[in-house]
């Protein structure tokens, strides 16, 4: 979906380093100088890395129950019983957490759900 950094690291300490050594030659003197390596650091708080993203589906009085069940089966590959359980949870409680985990797959799930016109959001718990 998007470019830019993701916050879906699986380890607690996440430091991304890019080391690039640039060599510049001087034709007059025949010498070669080596530039300092550049280091990019990207840090995330422990809390940010610990909490998984949740794919939440919200109630909508227009979408048919059978349609919502089919969408859950298709998008998440859930068996019919599990898909129906989630559909009923959405219907009775107003929302259901369909999946939780890393951000990138969660975004893709939300995108697919929107493609089926369900009200779905990507949320951090708490």
């Amino acid at each position: 979906m998007s470019c830019g950094p993701r916050r879906d690291g699986g380890c607690l300490a996440q430091i991304k380093e890019t080391r690039g050594i640039a060599q510049v030659s001087n034709q007059k003197t025949g010498s070669i100088t080596t530039a300092e390596p550049t280091i990019e650091k990207e840090t995330r708080s422990e809390e940010e890395l610990d909490l998984p993203w949740q794919v939440v589906v919200h109630n909508d009085p227009v979408n048919l129950m059978s349609y919502v069940t089919m969408v859950f089966q298709r998008v998440f590959g859930y068996p019919r019983e599990r898909a129906e359980r989630h559909m009923l949870e959405v219907h009775h409680n107003g929302r259901s957490i369909l999946w939780s985990g890393m951000r990138e797959p969660a975004e893709l799930y939300v995108q697919q759900l929107h493609g089926y016109l369900l009200l779905a959001t990507l949320e951090k718990p708490g």
Partner: protein, 163 residues
């Protein structure tokens, strides 16, 4: 009106002019044009409001894709509905064949239309569950009948997909 599966297609036969007209209205009804609330429902927010960066990226990258997806579905349906065009005198008892491979496009277009009509009319959950209301009373009642009729078609297509 009769609806059945025949030779790899869903066949809607003995269509009276009223229901045929409702079917022909699907692509137009699915268009949220001029109703910001309907537009907002078709392209709802992917977050609960806290992730502004994600919302901005979504608007830029995902919404155009969704727009294309929805438009492609309504175009497929509009193509199938051309079977209903023609001389009004011979319009009665027409048959509409929906190829099985178009089922997903129909489900999407019917859903778009139902959502847009429901938002534009501000239907309540109680109204949407009242399947026995007469379509004759008012423009609003007719729209509710339209939502329910499209829902009936969706149910039939879903059952066919299950088999």
């Amino acid at each position: 009106m009769e609806i059945c599966r025949r030779k790899g297609a869903i066949e809607i036969s003995e269509l009276d002019p009223f229901l045929a007209e409702l079917l022909r209205q699907i692509p137009a009804s699915a268009n949220p044009g001029g109703a910001p609330a309907a537009e907002q429902r078709l392209f709802s927010s992917p977050t609960n409001g806290k992730e502004t960066e994600l919302r901005a990226e979504w608007k830029m990258y995902v919404e155009p894709e969704l727009r294309r997806l929805f438009q492609s579905a309504t175009e497929t349906v509009a193509g199938d509905l051309e079977q209903l065009n023609g001389n009004e005198k011979t319009f009665e008892n027409r048959t509409l064949r929906i190829p099985a491979k178009h089922s997903d496009a129909w489900l999407s277009a019917l859903n778009q239309a139902r959502l847009v009509i429901a938002v534009k009319n501000n239907f309540t959950e109680n109204e949407l569950n009242d399947h026995f209301r007469s379509p004759i009373g008012s423009r609003r009642d007719l729209s509710l009948f339209q939502v329910n009729f499209y829902g009936f078609l969706q149910e039939f297509i879903l059952r066919e997909l299950e088999d």
